[in-house]
Amino acid sequence: MSVLAFVDTAEGKIKKGSLEALSYASQLAGVLNTRSEALVIGETQEDLTQLGKYGIAKVYHVQNAPSVFDSQLYTKIAADAVSAAGAKVLVFPGTSNGKALAPRLSAKLKAGMVSGVVQLPELNNGFAVKRSVFSGKAFSDVAILTDIKLIVLNPNAWPVSSGEGSAEVIAVQTAHASSALKLLNTSRTSGKVPLTEAEIVVSAGRGMKGPENWGIVEELADVLNAALACSRPVADAHWRPHNEHVGQTGIAIAPNLYIAIGISGAIQHLAGVNRSKTIVVINKDPEAPFFKAADYGIVGDAFEVVPKLTAALKKFKGLS
């Protein structure tokens, strides 16, 4: 038996969520007194022996699989790998591809799956996993009742831990090599940190009064190397693109630091950001509900406070 982690890649590069899955799998394997292994599907330019740094003993690399992500095909490939590895626990990153693949594999193997997982399982009485529910407003312990168990991690919920080590890489050829899907186009928001992977997120709302005022928000984000986000009214008014909308019906994020500027903090917005480790709120309304959910706050005019904060951070980072 082993713990097998699925390594999600984008254009052959390993995503941050995959490193979380590898780290989780190795920690869990330690507790279960077994080994952790990894599954990589499709071409990659990464040196897969390096996955040993995350505690992985063996990497199954399915080289001839199409690099277009096709959950139907990848499920067949992954099921073969699970049986070859004799894997009993499968760990998936909470990425888009992880969320497409895991439920399919769960249905194929008739194996219980839990998504949004935030901790290692409790093993005293069966196999129970703690997961985030109600859009981060609560947690739930879920027992997996089947022999094979699937875990999908919540993004940014499990720290990446690395050390020394080198993994054995096994090249695998699959018969499932042709996809019914055609990838027509791929676009990357180049040069920027993806919102769901960002350690720091700077977000702004209606308090900015209009899209022409986003310059000071962008400057703050630049100095922090942060991703940009916004509230729903801002995206709905087309001040900012929809892919920056965080909240209950937008993107849910869990960065180390979330800075909210001119956002009142409606419960729907909090549902998308309440897993952030530290929340800073800048708002001129002292009654803004967001202050109740914040760790640090400044009651003040964003147009004065934000440029000052940017300058202070530049000084702190030795940039000026």
């Binding site: 693949l101 769960s106 249905a107 609560a138 739930s140 312990d141 791929t186 937008g250 300058a311």
Partner: protein, 247 residues
Amino acid sequence: MKILVCISRTPDTTTKIAFTENNTKFDTSGVQWIINPYDEWYALVRAIELKEADPSVVIHLITVGGQDTEAIIRKALALGGDEAIRVNAESHDSFFIASQIAAVARNGGYDLIFTGKETIDYNGAAVGGMVAELLDWPYINQATRFELKGNTAQITREMEGGAEEYEAPLPLVVSCQKGMAEQRIPNMKGIMSARTKPLKVIEPAAADVLTAVSRFDLPPPKAGVKLVAPDQVDELVRLLHEEAKVI
């Protein structure tokens, strides 16, 4: 063209979350129920738009739940759709729900199944993928755009740091998120006609239960906000560096 849209009932987005029976059950007292926003705003409305473009499109709605979910199904029918199916069962887990939907879809002659990206209560993002696997259909999740081109579909999905555009054959399962369509409000004609649209109740198919919820917990309360004066931004930088250790 026949589309099956999966509808789930969720607590309103402003619901205060609480639990009963020694933290083993969600406290539904006083809860306002809504159609899961991803199911309504994106999956259902996109299906309705396809029907508006081509009136020969038939839309069926499906939900798994007890009789008390019928108010939500009627509300969905008021937005659009030709008829609804309710599988008369309390849902155990995602696999149970997916098994019910797959059982209906298997003999229903559907070309497309739309679901929301996830429900806003259990956030599992699991049912769409499981249905696709049970039917052995392709599956595209987190779609922000869906266009029919004859017997194929063009779909854009947004993901970490980018977007991908696919061409996929039908039949197909798609999970929908923001961008697919704009939120609508049902009109009076829709509300009136929803009362007489067929709502078929069927009994559940046998399905394995793979998981079981043992308890719920609320996160520990925040310690309270530490306020910094607007002219003391250096102090905020110090706190973020030394206390929170995030910069």
